[in-house]
Symmetry: C2
Subunit: 365 residues, 2 copies
């Protein structure tokens, strides 16, 4: 991809824009970013946007938030391009606010504004590291569910021995009905097939054992529904350990289990990385050892770095919504924007719509 | 502790018995072991028993299973002591058998025989690596629940940044009522206080967020019950990542969540260990690095080695029942027997009985 420097570039790795892109602005895809979301906002978010623009072409960004603050950061980084539009928002939803109340009352917050743009089809995707509950609630209330989808889901990628797998749902629905598991399997399969070109994604039902009769009554019923789906590659029940083994591409579970598992994954990975680093720092011998292998060790742990996975899609809502970590760094924001761009370029949303329109017609719901 | 060799000792690390112990046989504690349980039985189980006897005093072992096979293994290892009694059992419950059916029909299996001895107070503890479902079901049906305990629980230890914590329940009850969480907290606290001398064990409720209003309706109600317990050190909701951080000593959850988390823990730990080992084996440089730090790296990963934790207690039943991994090695069996001995020496069971007798009197159930 041909790229030309543009004079700015105070961000560590520098950012560049293609000359080609500057010309065809009108045809650009638009990604809207909540500049005020997360512990490190707006600095990390704006810097992440610059990093993303520097390596990705074909889109422009809309940053919603405190215009003066955003402009100041852009100036600090010497940004002079025109791929960033700033939309001033006078309100911010704090991390502790009650989601439904915040969404209802703070109409001029970056989250409500961004989701409204999505609903009005004035942007192609919305990304926020802000109040998770408000983003999820807002996504459902403002962007709305795709017709036929009973419950949207949060669907992060987790590292496995064979790459990564989708965990769906990871926190949107603490309780699920059997139909929800079925829909998560369908939505997850479409996503993995389209985003990652996996011909026939293996779907596993996260359970306490591999036998068919395991689990709660709801999970047992979910098993029956999944087994009855003709065009889903259902491999049966999987256990916690099968996630790491890479036995499936889509692990289906309720949002309570998924949320706990996701947080365990992140923390065990970083806990071990920390422990190993500590061993390498102990004395002269260990520091010498570190010098010999640190590159490979670092590469190995990269898979546990949630920053690499960027944003987590909220699937089943009528638009591309991505959630970032509350403590996202500029790098995470950059990766998330890459993700959002890649997602918005696919037909995943249309495929989900078609799938559930067919389901609705067939009277299956 | 003074120890004297006893002439045998074909097991790798050798086994020894104290002369002192041989004399006071009548006052010994008895630990009953299912010699036929697990993928590596009876060899690994019998070898584990010899290893345990070699380093622990004050008890004798009853091995239940195929007498000829057990005797052959003992002979192979040159065992000539008298701290092992063999009880012949003509039936074995296979790993795939339906628990309730197996317990009902195989009266002469090692699991049913062992649990019956426990019920009749003819042994101090029972340990098995056999069919998990059968052991759990049998523990409840044969050994019986402690009066006032609504649901017993499986309570393994998981590694944390500050040592380890108890995860209760890890698979006995896929669905729980609020009262179960409350009882798990009480039982777990007694265990950690007594077995590990933690003055005021911190109890956390495993949830999807730390705020009080998080989780399912059942978990929210459980929160209220835990918060109302006067003599439990309830620290509130904890998330998946807080387990690794060592935020609590007892993590309370339903058996579905606990089982998935436990298996994730085990597999992520061994997956990373495997990955790091692989890095160290890549080339001459990395092998040199390995030589410099392997001792410390190995020590670090030891905490993820479930073999170290040995057996997992089933708490709330009227006897000391320990469950071992299906693929337990001799070392795991050894550690589990150590655990069972330590447990049987404590007053944990009596304390649980007292606690729930008081609860029952107070009409709280």
């Amino acid at each position: 991809m041909p790229r030309a420097a543009d004079g700015g570039g105070a961000v560590a790795s520098g950012w560049r824009e293609t000359v080609h892109m500057e010309v065809e602005m009108a045809e650009y895809m638009t990604i809207t970013v909540d500049a005020m979301g997360g512990d490190n906002a707006p600095e990390a978010v704006v810097e992440g946007c610059l990093l993303a623009l520097g390596r990705g072409a074909g889109y422009r960004l809309q940053l919603i938030g405190d215009e003066a603050a955003i402009r100041r950061i852009l100036t600090e980084h010497g940004y002079k391009g025109d791929r960033i539009e700033i939309l001033n928002a006078t309100q911010v939803i704090g991390g502790d606010e009650v989601p439904t109340k915040a969404i209802r009352e703070k109409k001029d917050s970056s989250i409500v504004r961004g989701l409204s743009l999505l609903k009005e089809k004035r942007t192609d995707a919305f990304f926020s590291c802000g109040n998770t509950g408000a983003l999820l609630t807002g996504a459902m209330l403002i962007a709305g569910r795709i017709e036929g989808v009973d419950r949207p889901a949060l669907a992060p990628m987790i590292p496995t021995g064979r790459g990564f797998a989708m965990l769906i749902d990871a926190g949107l629905n603490t309780s699920c009905k059997p139909v929800n598991y079925e829909q998560f399997a369908e939505i997850g399969s479409i996503y993995m097939k389209t985003m990652y070109k996996i011909a026939s994604p293996k779907v596993g039902l996260l359970n306490v054992g591999t036998e068919e009769n395991k689990g709660t009554e709801i999970v047992k019923e979910a098993y029956g529904r999944l087994a009855a789906l003709r065009d889903i590659n259902f491999i049966g029940n999987i256990e916690g350990r099968d996630l790491t083994d890479g036995k499936c591409d889509v692990a289906v579970c309720d949002g309570f289990v998924g949320n706990v598992v996701l947080k365990c994954y992140e923390s065990i990975g970083s806990y071990i990385k920390f422990g190993i680093t500590d061993v390498f720092r102990r004395n002269t011998r260990s520091r010498l050892a570190a010098a010999l292998v640190k590159k490979d060790i670092r590469a190995f742990f990269k898979q546990f770095d949630y920053e690499e996975y960027g944003g987590t899609p909220i699937l089943g809502v009528g638009g591309s919504v991505f959630k970032g970590h509350g403590n996202a760094s500029a790098k995470t924001v950059m990766c998330a924007i890459d993700c959002a761009v890649a997602f918005a370029k696919t037909s995943v949303l249309d495929q989900i719509r078609d799938r559930f329109a067919v389901n609705a017609l067939a009277g299956e719901l």
